[in-house]
């Protein structure tokens, strides 16, 4: 229950902050799966821990955690924008299928909850421990892209496509 409440709080705050901040900064590389893989990869986390002083290790891990949280905010902001655009487009669509819309809404809620938990895990334990949940969250983002595809003009898909690229690469 506490986690759920925190997720809702985070979701509300992120929506406001990230929408303004990230739209100006997102360029060619920030949301691609390989960049997120680098941020969440435990290799650097462990390597710096084994080679550097305690002070530097703490500083490096703090920076990585901040980067992972910013990345997550940016992804959530992009998904939120896509979903908003989808619902705007769906309103005027005569061939709307309620079952598909409900499924999309459930996926969206699930994505919000997963990414909210992911945010808390990254914040608490650091990015490497949250890597597994990251994959699941990215899968959901990919599903949302599939679902919104029919309604939106091409430009709206870019960010979610970047996220989805990882899954295509894997399969």
């Amino acid at each position: 229950m506490t986690i759920l409440c925190l997720c809702l709080l985070l979701s509300g705050r992120e929506g406001r902050d990230a929408d303004q901040e990230t739209s100006a900064h997102l360029e060619w590389d920030s949301l691609t799966p390989d960049v997120s893989a680098r941020i969440f990869d435990p290799e650097d986390w462990d390597f710096v821990g084994s080679e550097a002083s305690r002070h530097l290790t703490r500083q490096f891990r703090r920076e990585r955690t901040a980067l992972a949280l910013d990345w997550l905010r940016a992804v959530r902001s992009q998904v939120n924008q896509s979903i908003r655009a989808h619902f705007r487009a769906a309103r005027g669509n005569a061939d709307l299928k309620p079952a598909d819309e409900i499924r999309l809404w459930l996926d969206f809620v699930c994505f919000q909850a997963t990414s909210g938990i992911l945010y808390l895990m990254v914040w608490t334990y650091g990015p490497p421990r949250a890597a597994k949940l990251l994959e699941y969250s990215q899968e959901l983002a990919g599903k949302l892209r599939q679902a919104t595809e029919d309604f939106l003009p091409a430009g709206h898909h870019v960010a979610v496509e970047l996220i989805d690229g990882k899954q295509q690469g894997k399969s």
Binding site: W28, E51, E63, R64, D70
Partner: protein, 152 residues
């Protein structure tokens, strides 16, 4: 049609730059620094006389920007462990010691100006964080060698 031709020209110019200039430079870090040095700090435009003569100013500029992005991307995705090796390689290829490199880079922070213009702030922060960690690890290794010269 024109766009396609232009794209092909840029690709050809990229290959030319890679074969004639970048291939002679050891290590991606050195290549990145070289490519960033071709860029005007005020306008963000790249200048390379030879490449501009073989192609056009605009094609050459786009090719250099593209190569810069590619090399930067490789460095961005490079683990910190490899970055430490790249720094050592860069220091040795410039006839300086890694001790000098660490000292000067920590003061001047030249790695901040080698980031491509189109790079997002998130990617730039990741790169700077990694380079700083790699420099600190290199410094820690040097200190260990100074303290225990025989075991090194």
């Amino acid at each position: 049609m024109y766009g396609e031709l232009k794209h092909q020209d840029v690709q050809t110019a990229c290959r030319d730059l890679a074969d004639r200039s970048l291939a002679k430079i050891r290590g991606d870090l050195a290549r990145l620094i070289y490519l960033a040095s071709l860029r005007d700090y005020n306008t963000g435009e790249y200048h390379h006389e030879g490449l501009a003569c073989r192609f056009t100013e605009s094609v050459a500029g786009r090719a250099m920007a593209s190569c810069h992005r590619d090399v930067f991307r490789r460095m961005l995705l490079c683990p910190v462990k490899e970055l430490v090796e790249q720094l050592e390689l860069y220091a040795s290829s410039n006839n300086s010691t890694s001790f000098e490199l660490v000292r000067v880079w920590e003061k001047l922070q030249p790695y901040r100006v080698i980031v491509p213009l189109e790079c997002s702030s998130l990617a730039a922060r990741l790169f700077v964080s990694n380079i700083r960690a790699a420099l600190a690890i290199l410094q820690a290794r040097q200190l260990r060698v100074l303290q225990h010269p025989l075991s090194a």
